[in-house]
């Protein structure tokens, strides 16, 4: 394999593996948010804000993987 092929494979694997954990985390956040929304629909506003905040933290991990993958691919 030439270095470019290895680069492409590694970049793909980086984001593929790095996306697993954030996906699981986001699904748990969303599940819990929906559940609490069902219990207490009046708190929709604060649930939404806090959910987006929590999602941003989980998503940050995926973004780190994405940045590394882009760096491998393009730098």
């Amino acid at each position: 394999m030439n270095p470019d092929t290895i680069k492409n494979i590694v970049a793909g694997l980086t984001i593929a593996i790095g996306g697993i954990a954030p996906a699981l985390a986001i699904s748990r956040f969303a599940t819990e948010a929906m559940r609490s929304l069902g219990r207490n629909p009046e708190a929709a506003g604060s649930i939404a804000t806090n959910l987006i905040l929590a999602l941003a933290f989980a998503e940050a991990i995926a973004i780190y993987a994405l940045v590394i993958a882009l760096a491998i691919k393009f730098v």
Partner: protein
């Protein structure tokens, strides 16, 4: 024959034809030119002006012009542009209010500036002219002529997002110092109150403290260190989150335009509008949360003590998955 009279049929046929045209068009479309680093488009004195810097200047100009136009002839009952700007700012203030409480008037300008700048930068990305207007750079050292896009979305440059993250984190320190006062804000990072109490007790200058106070003092020092470390992590995550999302969006758009040049790539423009607004919102909400955290010291109760929306049930909810 009746199906030919229906406008829906012809609309669907036109869309399908446009989609099919993606595969049978006669044009030669070049593969997208994707670079991670921003490229220099012109040089003013010693300052290298990159395409992302130019785009961020454009965003600033848009914001300044809108601000001047909307405040030129202010009325108590707003209409037109003033109404629009007020609606946006009020919606934003409503989001900040529950977290910041009484500190909203102090902090809100920073939050609103960050939000508006990022959202304008992100939305300008899909304007025609971005990445399509190309300047040709003079060849240097025998290299081939380089074609560089004149404008490129500002947040696709890590320099822009690091600058935004640095200003957000620095402003949270400034607000923490303003609200709590310098010495007390410093105890967030260097908390030696328990240490001082313990050694005062040893030297007979105060009440004798147990050894657990010393252990807790050490723990306080460690917690302060973690807080300090956390500030640097914030800069990293702030900047990488914005950069990663916007750059990935740009790559997505250029790859989609390359693969499906006609019609089929349009929905992704809508997706980018959504992602740009959400990222600006996330940046603003996170900055709000961090500033609220910095301006709430441990010594007095947080300002966001609110009545629970719904009274807690007498019997605990036991069903849990």
């Amino acid at each position: 024959m009746s199906v030919l009279r229906k406008p829906g049929f012809w609309l669907a046929a036109a869309v399908l034809a446009a989609l099919a045209f993606n595969f049978f068009h006669p044009f030669d479309i070049q593969a997208p030119h994707i670079t991670l680093a921003a490229e220099e488009v012109l040089r003013i004195g010693g300052l290298r002006v990159t395409n992302t810097l130019l785009a961020s200047w454009l965003a600033m100009a848009v914001l300044i012009v809108v601000a001047l136009l909307s405040t030129r002839n202010m009325q108590a009952v707003p209409h037109g542009l003033q109404n629009l700007v007020e609606a946006v700012l009020e919606a934003l203030a409503k989001i900040c209010e529950p977290t910041l409480g009484s500190r909203t008037p102090l902090v809100f300008p920073t939050i609103a500036t960050l939000f508006l700048f990022i959202v304008v930068c992100n939305w300008m990305e899909i304007l025609p002219g971005f990445a399509s207007i190309v300047v040709t750079k003079a060849a240097e050292h025998g290299q081939a002529l380089e074609r560089v896009p004149l404008l490129r979305s500002a947040a696709t440059d890590l320099n822009t997002t690091v600058a935004l993250a640095l200003s957000a984190v620095l402003m949270s320190q400034v607000y923490g110092t303003l609200v709590a006062g310098f010495p007390r804000y410093l105890t967030r990072f260097v908390n030696i109150r328990r240490f001082v109490a313990f050694f005062d007790g040893l030297r007979g200058r105060g009440p004798k403290e147990s050894v657990s106070t010393l252990a807790l003092g050490l723990l306080d020092l460690f917690v302060g260190l973690m807080e300090l470390f956390d500030e640097f992590t914030k800069i990293l995550s702030f900047s990488f989150r914005l950069f990663g999302n916007v750059f990935a969006g740009e790559v997505l758009l250029s790859v989609m335009v390359f693969l499906f040049p006609f019609v089929a790539s349009l929905p992704f423009l809508g997706l980018e509008l959504f992602v740009g607004a959400v990222q600006a919102f996330v940046f603003a909400v996170l900055a709000t949360a961090f500033i609220a955290q910095a301006t709430t010291t441990h010594h007095h109760a947080p300002a966001q003590v609110r009545q629970p929306v719904c009274p807690t049930p007498a019997t605990p909810l036991t069903e849990r998955s």
